[in-house]
Symmetry: C2
């Protein structure tokens, strides 16, 4: 089997980069199937976990879905999720996340990982309905 794992990772990354919205693990699986008919969920999840560890994708915890990362600073990204069109914006906010850590640290909590997601309506969708 050798390096099939890494090949899956790059294939998954391509798929996510080509998507204009978050994809679930099973969405990715479905896109993988044509070229890899016998692929199974654990393979996809392993590839997603590895890519996430390497800082190449974000997992959207509140959506159970994934997007390719476009940040310089993967660890300090804030994700703005449009509940209307499903698009996601990445914003880098190192200061805010530092504040968050120090806040937690006040009670002796050692932060290792952050989940910062904002749900709302993106500017494009908001323009479509300025009044209501």
């Amino acid at each position: 089997m050798g390096k099939r794992g890494e090949e899956h990772q790059s294939e998954v990354l391509m798929i996510l980069r080509g998507a204009d919205r978050p994809l679930s693990a099973y969405d990715v699986l479905a896109e993988l199937r044509p070229s890899n008919p016998r692929i199974a969920p654990p393979t996809v999840y392993r590839a997603l976990a590895a890519l996430s560890d390497r800082g190449l994708i974000h997992r959207l915890e509140s959506l159970n879905a994934f997007i390719a990362c476009h940040c310089d600073d993967h660890q300090h990204a804030v994700l703005s999720i449009c509940d209307d069109c499903g698009s996601v914006e990445e914003t880098e906010a190192p200061e805010l996340l530092t504040n968050l850590e120090s806040l937690a640290a006040k009670s002796g909590f050692k932060a290792a990982r952050h989940v910062v997601e904002v749900h709302g309506v993106c500017s494009t969708c908001d323009d479509g309905k300025p009044v209501a």
Copy 2:
């Protein structure tokens, strides 16, 4: 059937208040079963959704689980989740969340709901292993 729904809500709230760790919807279901043998998942999810709307419980998106809320300010809570013992601390951080909103607003995004969760190790667990 009348008010059975609200009765379920208060029973669910009691269960969550009595728990010292986050409970999944199915954990709650299991605790409801003895007194309500025929209860089904949608009933539990409806009760949880209603309690969440009312600001009485938090949903932990990164855990797919729920805790009772002890905050004054439910909307502006930050949740610190110990990956070691599973305990969760609620911290109120209205300023931080205001900053978060204005950050998102810079690109025209209208925030409606936040998910701010920090994973790490709580002070109690950290004391247990000061070196490693």
